[in-house]
């Protein structure tokens, strides 16, 4: 029997076949690869370990346990939905790169050592940038470049940390790392970049809205959730993550309120959802880690659903700027309906998926009596209701009628949205199958009277606040604009500093260089003069004249000797 292999390889190797296969068969391949990967992953037993030796180091190219399986399952589901959503496109490059990207995310999750992780970590970066570049604009090219530099940078930090850890411990196995050592700190930073920690986050809001209609849907599922997995594996119970996570839930909320591009609103919202997961990792209890894993699972589905609905709007209406939209429910009723299901799931309404997952993290914070963190998470939940629960569906599909009349989304997009919406409700109504695959035994009951009523109170009163703000005219109008965020530092300030530096030191540098050049020129002319065929240095002198010079020197020496 063939020995087991990393299931990510199915989509990676299959991805390379995509451009070689014609028409209908290619579509079957694009959909079939995630299905094949899923079937294979389901067949894997927890505890499976495949090692191979590479330059004397033992690499664990496949490690299956309950934690990696959660991500393995949901990544394949997301890969299938992403492929289905994009199946109307005839773009071989995007199709290939998407499969390689999704496959390497799966492969990274099942990597048992840091070097294997590094290889697939970088492969996700290099393959996914094509989903941004495929938009084909100068803007997307630049955003893709910034994305690539930051993502590859994260990989370099990971490799540097891995080497330090190998030096310290002699092992590259990827288990708990901790931030005590320098290597541990570097890897923490590498994961933090990919997980969009505060101040390291802007690549997310910068690049995802510039990717293609289908590319953003695929991007939204993998990169950041791979980072969440890696943090859960290497840094569970690291206290600072609680505060980093709580900050992440809070600050993107304000940016999401004022952002006009609805796909960028979703990118901020994604950042905010990652905060709940990161917070759970920091809390580190079994309940909290189950919360992180289940929230990652639920989040991938509703976030993909929301990006799919906004992608469909972009595809049909040609824009996702809130200021240019409104009233689209009339021409895209199915998309509007699916979007509302995604919005209710992310807002954690009872019977929707967010309700059964996010609350575990909140409960874990309460159990550890961290009331400030708990309060931040509660308030951030009201914020989620604002930007994703209301703003996204309201400004795209309702609000004032923009007069746009477009076609409903293509069938394949509707199917992808429909399946995602079905799963969002399915998990919310019947969470038992999700709870069964979590890393730890689940002793948690989401449907208590108190939880249902308090959640509804929070959400319904948040909605009433929205009604009040709209009716009173206090709600800020959507205007075409960009908002400065931390990327301003490296898109504006740093280039300006570099230019200023060049302006000041350029002339000095030029002066020094021309002085050096003329110096060299002088030396060359002199050398030429003295060393050319008839130059002083090239002449042959008779031996006698040499003796004469020696005598003269001796005489001078004697004179000085006597004087001295």
């Amino acid at each position: 029997m063939m020995s087991e292999f990393n299931p990510g390889l199915i989509m990676i190797i299959g991805g390379f076949l995509v451009p070689l296969v014609p028409g209908l068969a290619r579509r079957a391949l694009l959909l079939g690869l995630p299905v094949a990967g899923m079937v294979y992953t389901i067949a894997l037993d927890p505890g499976t370990l495949v090692t191979s030796t590479f330059f004397g180091y033992s690499l664990e190219t496949l490690r299956v346990d309950k934690l990696s399986l959660v991500w393995g399952y949901i990544f394949h589901i997301a890969a299938f939905l992403g492929a289905l959503y994009a199946i109307h496109e005839d773009d071989r490059l995007q199709g290939t790169m998407a499969q390689i990207y999704m496959g390497s995310a799966v492969a990274a999750v099942f990597a048992g050592d840091l070097i294997t992780l590094f290889v697939f970590w970088e492969l996700t970066a290099v393959s996914s940038v094509f989903l941004i570049w495929a938009t084909g604009s100068e803007r997307s090219y630049r955003a893709g470049m910034r994305y690539l530099i930051i993502q590859v940078g994260s990989g370099v930090l990971l490799l540097a940390g891995a080497i330090l850890i190998l030096n310290d411990t002699g092992s590259i196995t990827f288990n708990h790392i901790g931030i005590e050592t320098l290597g541990g700190k570097l890897i923490f930073l590498a994961f933090g970049i990919k997980c969009a920690f505060p101040f390291l986050h802007n690549w997310l809001q910068d690049s995802y809205p510039e990717a293609t209609v289908t590319g953003t849907v695929i991007l939204s599922a993998f990169t950041t959730k791979l980072a969440v997995y890696a943090l859960a594996r290497g840094y569970a119970g690291t206290e600072i993550l609680i505060y980093i996570g709580a900050t992440m839930t809070a600050f993107p909320v304000f940016f999401a309120v004022i952002e006009n591009n609805l796909r960028r609103v979703l990118a901020y919202s994604l950042n905010n959802q990652l905060g709940f997961m990161v917070c759970g990792i920091g809390l580190g209890s079994e309940l909290a880690l189950n919360g992180t894993a289940s929230h990652a699972f639920a989040h991938i589905l509703y976030k993909a659903l929301l990006f799919m609905s906004m992608g469909a709007v972009l595809f049909r209406a040609g824009t996702v700027n809130a200021s240019a939209l409104g009233g689209l429910y009339k021409s895209m009723p199915w998309t509007a309906g699916f979007c509302i299901i995604g919005a209710m799931s992310i807002s954690a309404f009872p019977l929707f998926s967010g309700f059964v997952s996010k609350s575990m993290v909140l409960m874990a914070a309460a159990e550890q009596h961290r009331w400030i963190v708990w309060a931040v998470l509660i308030m951030a939940s009201a914020g989620v209701m604002e930007h994703s629960g209301i703003k996204i569906p309201y400004f795209a599909f309702f609000a004032h009628d923009s007069g746009r009349r477009v076609k409903e989304a293509p069938k394949n997009m509707l199917w992808a949205m429909g399946i995602a919406a079905f799963l969002c409700i399915g998990i919310g109504v019947y969470p038992a199958p999700l709870y069964a695959i979590l890393p730890y035994p689940v002793d948690y009951q989401p449907y208590t009277t108190a939880h249902v009523i308090t959640s509804l109170q929070l959400l319904v009163f948040a909605a009433l606040a929205f009604v009040y703000l709209i009716k009173s005219g206090l709600y800020p109008a959507e205007t075409p604009s960009v908002n400065l965020d931390f990327d301003w530092v490296y898109r504006r300030v740093l280039p300006k500093l570099v230019r200023a530096f060049i302006a000041v030191f350029g002339p000095i540098d030029r002066g020094l260089r021309s002085a050096a050049l003329s110096g060299i020129g002088w030396v060359m002319t002199a050398t030429k003069r003295y060393s050319s065929a008839d130059g002083m240095m090239a002449k042959t002198y008779p031996a006698g004249s040499m003796v004469a010079w020696v005598l003269i020197l001796l005489a001078v020496y004697l004179v000085f000797y006597f004087i001295g």
Binding site: V257, I258, G383, E386, Q457, P476, P480, S481, N483
Partner: protein, 85 residues
């Protein structure tokens, strides 16, 4: 679907219907608020046990976030082509 179908009058086009929705929401909110009298909350923190705690937090946090966002715009908002050289 033809354009003519899209332009037919929709239920939400009538402000009376929008008001019906709003009042339904208000009524639902009132019921939820009162419901606090009828169950045990198992509060982890003392504030959580206050009557209508989640409703009050939901309402005022939402308003606070939006109004704070409005102020933030004064500092952060730039024209759409700001980054295009």
């Amino acid at each position: 679907m033809s354009d003519r179908d899209d332009d037919k009058s929709h239920w939400l086009d009538h402000s009376g219907n929008v008001n019906k929705l709003v009042w339904t929401l208000v009524g639902f909110g009132a019921l939820l608020f009162i419901a606090d009298a009828f169950y045990d909350k198992h509060a982890h923190f003392s504030a959580e046990g206050y009557f209508g705690f989640y409703a009050i937090v939901g309402f005022f946090t939402f308003i606070g976030i939006v109004l704070a966002g409005k102020q933030l715009r004064k500092i952060l908002m730039r024209p759409e082509d700001y980054y295009d050289e």
